[in-house]
């Protein structure tokens, strides 16, 4: 029985109160390494949003019309990964055609979206929480935008800390981890406002 949560509420909830990055800590590796640069962060965030929205929709259809009728939900992990890989492949071709500069700046991180745990994580949440189709899409888009928001915030903060006198030992990853900790604490402040479970 799908939970009776309004898709619009779900959309905003997945951006703020249960931000996939800052409350579930999924998709950290590219989050930390790409956030060095503001422009690439924007591009990657948008790519994650698009991949997440499309894969949520496709995975939902595959789950509902193939896996459930055959009684093969136990294959969902492997099937979802295949779906993600295919969508990323398609997105890669489209970006290469539309914006070679973005394609080059994303570099290896574009194919690595395939193994970005935020994406598989969000799709598995969608399955566990038995969302309907509309909910699945809004949740996917919301989680993606949440990821985009978090990486943009971190990129902006890192741009500031670059210019500030950080103790030598904390430069780079050290201060970034502390920053992420503060951001996570701030986002956890939203939790409980809307229940998405």
């Amino acid at each position: 029985m799908p939970p009776l949560i309004n898709p619009i509420t779900l959309f905003f909830a997945s951006i703020f109160t249960s931000n996939i990055l800052l409350t579930n800590f999924l998709g950290m590796c590219s989050f930390i390494s790409i956030s060095k640069d503001w422009k690439s962060s924007f591009g990657l965030g948008m790519a994650v949003t698009v991949v997440l929205t499309i894969t949520a929709a496709v995975s939902w259809l595959v789950l509902r019309f193939v896996l459930v009728p055959f009684g093969m939900e136990y294959l969902s992990f492997i099937i979802f990964i295949i779906v993600i890989a295919a969508v990323v492949q398609i997105l890669e071709m489209v970006i290469d055609r539309a914006s070679p500069a973005l394609y080059l700046s994303l570099g290896i991180f574009l194919p690595l979206i395939t193994v970005n745990c935020a994406i598989l994580g969000a799709i598995l949440f969608m399955q566990i929480r038995s969302y309907n189709f509309i909910q699945a899409i809004t949740f996917g888009a919301g989680s993606g935008l949440g990821w985009w928001l978090a990486i943009m915030l971190l990129a902006a903060i890192r741009e500031r800390t670059e210019k500030n006198p950080v103790p030598a030992g904390l430069k780079g990853p050290g201060i970034t981890m502390i920053t992420i900790g503060f951001m996570a604490m701030a986002f956890i402040g939203f939790s409980g406002m809307i229940a998405v479970q």
């Binding site: 590796c29 590219s30 930390i32 390494s33 570099g107 290896i108 690595l112």
Partner: protein
């Protein structure tokens, strides 16, 4: 692992046959980061600034060019010869191209003999990279200290 993609590319281009025939790593089996860190440590111990060392080598190169490819004596103690070839070499880190040349310095006072190029100077200056042990173009901090001391 993933965020050193640029470094991995640089490492590929440092292998023999990519940019130069012998490559930049010589027989060194350490990782790139270890080589750079060990040399940086050595520079600190010798109280030698890599930037100043590069300036010193550049000064010797400029003085040596007066010989027009033939060895000449500079500052009474160095025998410097410069050679030039047509074309440019790219930096393995991908930040610029450098005129193909080689400067051989033989210091009669300390007995140190070094060979370097404009690219070696850039690697030392911008990337703190003195090249791996066994590379003919290696600029070991210890040798630099004796040469310029």
């Amino acid at each position: 692992m993933k965020n050193t993609e640029a470094e991995k590319n640089a490492l590929q281009r440092m292998k023999p046959g990519a940019i130069t025939i012998q490559g930049f790593l010589g027989t060194d089996t350490r990782s790139l980061a270890d080589i750079i860190e060990a040399d940086a440590e050595e520079f600190r111990r010798l109280k030698l600034d890599p930037e100043e060392a590069a300036d010193g080598l550049e000064r010797l190169r400029d003085a040596g060019q007066a010989g027009l490819g033939e060895p000449i004596t500079v500052e009474g103690r160095y025998i410097v010869s410069t050679g030039d070839a047509r074309g440019v070499l790219p930096c393995p880190y991908g930040d610029g191209v450098f005129h193909k040349n080689s400067v051989t310095v033989d210091d009669e006072q300390s007995g140190v003999e070094l060979i370097y190029s404009d690219l070696s100077l850039h690697l030392l200056r911008a990337h703190g990279f003195c090249q791996g042990q066994g590379s003919p173009f290696r600029l070991a901090p210890e040798a630099l200290a004796r040469l310029l001391g």
